[in-house]
């Protein structure tokens, strides 16, 4: 597959992810419904890590913010992916539902192997732990709009919403808002690079309360632009502190289950490259954090 074809495929998949999200959420809810308490938390933990890492990656991909007070608008999409480590494919679960004797077993998480694990108990009884969805990576695509600038400051909005068509799941929505301010404007014209600082808030909701995730990212970015013919190459780096929390609520086979993941705080170091050509913008980056991610982005703007 050529690079161009792959890029288009990624872009299409990014769009398709919105439509797919409802189906995926329904499948995950079905699968986790046999679990309660710590089992449910352990089963879903890789998903929590992945969503947190994906939401807080590829937020600000340049430190360049025009200093003059002129209108700039850029419509962009970020496609952020995370490759799961092997240690995230299993967790230690305990039998439920009055199964005797109580047994602990290493079983698949939501991203683990697809086969169910069955353990034998007293009196020919047995217990089945569900399989995972056997996925190696998790990708999130988010559309965003960047608007600027006023006194070296720009704002960014992320938003998408999809009606899953599933009454049990409901709507899926993501919204985010942040501001980004140029620091290098105060450093004088001889300062060798652009510097900026930004803060970004995001909320991802599935249904009324099936999943409710909140992410904050505070960071500084450095970049420098290198014109080359009709294009501009712009390497960049950033250092950010990310905070992510997630609550999940669903009906198990026997009871209502509420899971709350503690706020996860991590430091995120990113290197990346932007390519600007007229109104078209591309970028790619790699982030080293609690969960390493890589991202592609494309956008149109002036």
């Amino acid at each position: 597959m050529s690079a161009r074809t792959r890029l288009l495929a990624i872009a299409t998949c990014a769009a398709a992810l919105c439509a797919f999200a409802g189906t995926a959420a329904a499948q995950v809810e079905d699968q986790v419904s046999v679990y309660t308490g710590e089992n449910a938390k352990g089963y879903l933990e890789p998903l929590s890590k992945a969503i947190g890492a994906d939401l807080t990656s590829a937020v600000w991909t340049t430190a360049y913010i025009p200093e003059e007070d002129a209108f700039h608008l850029s419509f962009e999409t970020r496609v952020v992916g995370l490759i799961f480590g092997d240690d995230m494919r299993t967790f230690t679960a305990t039998t439920e539902g009055g199964f005797s004797p109580e047994t602990t077993e290493e079983v698949p998480t939501v991203i683990g192997d697809g086969d169910a694990i069955i353990v034998q108990g007293n009196g020919s009884s047995s217990f089945a732990f569900p399989g995972g969805f056997d996925v190696n990576s998790f990708t999130l695509a988010v559309p965003q709009l960047r608007i600027g600038s006023y006194k070296g400051t720009e704002a960014m909005i992320r938003y998408f919403a999809v009606n899953t068509g599933d009454v049990d799941i409901g709507d899926i929505s993501l919204y985010g808002f942040g501001v980004h301010h140029s620091i290098s404007q105060y450093m004088g014209p001889d300062f060798p690079m652009e510097l900026a600082a930004g803060v970004f808030y995001q909320k991802l909701q599935v249904g009324d309360d099936l999943m409710d995730a909140t992410a904050y990212s505070f960071g500084v970015q450095a970049s420098r632009r290198y014109p080359a013919g009709f294009a501009i190459f712009e390497p960049y780096g950033s250092l950010a502190v990310d905070m992510f929390s997630m609550d999940v609520a669903y009906e198990s086979d026997t009871e209502s289950v509420d899971i709350s993941y503690d706020t996860d705080t991590s430091v995120d170091f990113t290197v990346g490259l932007n390519l600007h050509a007229a109104f078209f913008h591309l970028n790619g980056e790699y982030s080293i954090s609690g969960q390493n991610t890589f991202a592609f982005g494309f956008g149109l703007g002036f």
């Binding site: 597959m1 074809t5 288009l8 495929a9 990624i10 872009a11 299409t12 998949c13 990014a14 769009a15 398709a16 992810l17 797919f20 189906t23 995926a24 499948q27 079905d30 699968q31 419904s33 046999v34 608008l73 419509f75 496609v79 992916g81 490759i83 539902g97 009055g98 199964f99 005797s100 697809g114 086969d115 169910a116 069955i118 108990g121 007293n122 009196g123 020919s124 009884s125 047995s126 217990f127 089945a128 732990f129 569900p130 399989g131 995972g132 969805f133 056997d134 996925v135 190696n136 990576s137 990708t139 086979d253 109104f279 078209f280 890589f294 149109l300 703007g301 002036f302």
Partner: protein, 202 residues
């Protein structure tokens, strides 16, 4: 400027639409697990210690209900077995009694004991399900009926309360009258295929 931007956005959207067939979806197979409970009620009204209360149980009806509740087709099921059995009083007697006996299950090899209850006070299980110690023979008998259902037969199972002792002794003046319920918790393993959009797949 605005016109150029509108045109560019339109071209991008068209590009996305045209490249739909190249999208990287990977087909996966996952073994889903659902659980469900199915129950049998026994209405008791006796004047002696020893009694037998039979109840017929249609395995197909009960398992069809579990599958239907979870939106599962029977063709997808690859395994179904018993996790546990509970019993509880759902309509209590006028005063407390202590019972000993067995619950048997009969499908195709004669009645087999699935649960023993010994010195069980009814007040202890009044509205509170108690997990039973299971017997291999009875559970295997029930698994035979479940297997028959999965093989497209329509098995009927008879559960029987075979009570052996009651304290205090019931009589015509003080008959033992109550209703209790035995529930089987069953898991069902289902194989399902789905497409996962793995855009970074190599």
């Amino acid at each position: 400027m605005r016109r150029k931007l509108t045109l560019a956005v339109a071209l991008l959207l068209v590009g996305l639409a045209l490249s739909g067939s190249d999208c990287i979806f990977e087909q996966k197979v996952v073994q889903l697990v659902v659980t469900g409970s199915t129950c049998v009620d026994f209405e008791e009204d006796h004047q002696t210690d020893n009694w037998t209360t039979p109840e017929t149980y249609d395995v197909a009806d009960e398992l069809d209900a579990i599958l239907s509740d979870n939106g599962i087709d029977k063709d997808q099921v690859i395994d179904a077995e018993i996790i546990s059995v509970t019993y509880e009083v759902i309509d209590p007697p006028a005063h407390d009694w202590t019972l000993s006996g067995t619950i048997t299950v009969e499908y195709d090899s004669g009645p087999q004991t699935i649960v023993n209850y010994t010195n069980q006070t009814l007040s202890e299980i009044d509205g509170v399900p108690k997990y039973a110690d299971l017997n291999d023979a009875g559970v295997d008998e029930m698994h035979g009926a479940i297997d028959a259902y999965l093989a497209d037969m329509s098995p009927l199972v008879t559960f029987r309360v075979e009570n052996g002792d009651v304290d205090p002794d019931p009589s015509s003046v003080d008959p033992i009258q109550f209703t209790w319920r035995a529930c089987l918790k069953i898991y069902v393993v289902v194989e399902d295929e789905y497409d996962w959009p793995d855009v970074f797949r190599g």
